[in-house]
Symmetry: C2
Subunit: 146 residues, 2 copies
Amino acid sequence: MDKEYELLLLENQVCFPTYAVANKILRRYQPLLKKLNLTYTQYVTMMVMWEKEAVNEKDLVKALYLKANTLTDLLRKLEKKGYVQIARSEKDKRNIVIRLTDEGRKLKDAAISVPKTLIDEHWLTDDEVKTYKELLYKLLKGDWEK
Amino acid sequence: MDKEYELLLLENQVCFPTYAVANKILRRYQPLLKKLNLTYTQYVTMMVMWEKEAVNEKDLVKALYLKANTLTDLLRKLEKKGYVQIARSEKDKRNIVIRLTDEGRKLKDAAISVPKTLIDEHWLTDDEVKTYKELLYKLLKGDWEK
DNA sequence: ACAAATTATATCGTATGCGATATAATTTAG
DNA sequence: CTAAATTATATCGCATACGATATAATTTGT
């Protein structure tokens, strides 16, 4: 019985420090991203756009591990800021195609300052980062959702 | 120059999988917590309460790595549900003391089903969990915030 | 060919976390 | 001893993520 209650100790959770670290990272990014006029999720979305130039919303959802409804509003905001352009696909009118604009492409150079600043803070050693990311991606790809 | 742009690839980020895993874990917990009438943050807050029985809001903030304003509303909701009792400290009237109620204590037995269910899903091996948690706590305790 | 199932997106309501700011209680300085 | 600084909490407004649900376009099954 006592053994069972141990399952409910904060220190024995995997979820708790994951969630707390995510929030802490977010808090660190926000002031830096403010200068780019981007929120955190807009920033990672732009990372995909900088890499791919154009994507379906559906592929973006997969790439970002989010739900489609989370992206809908976000993309409209990025469009409003002029960083992307949104259109229905001709081939399959259900699909939304998001395209990087010149304005969005320009933002990339300013954005480099963000990882540059943070990399110097050495939160973890290179080896630790490698291990940490492997574990995170194992969790992300794991089949235990829903 | 190309080297610099690599800093902006999604796959090279530490923040991105952390955030994505946190969301994924949240999505996994939510249906289980619904049965307890708790949200995720209320759940981890209750973990502290089950362990400590009574705490200052200020200590709770530290334990949960949150900001005080995030807890204010949350605690009121837990009070409304009857799981905790909230009162100003006599010693220092700035302090809020949160106390577990009988109702809240009762919830603990029902709550055990949550970690019991999830532990069987083996998201990571025991060794991996150990490493993962060490890295998370290194990040959590790191001094790079603000 | 056409009804039923599936897919991609949108809408709505709820919960969260946070920064900025305000306020009340306590501590510190001079 | 009192004015100023600090501490603990509260309030407000914003951004996010999601589930449930709805809708339009496409695919499927017969």
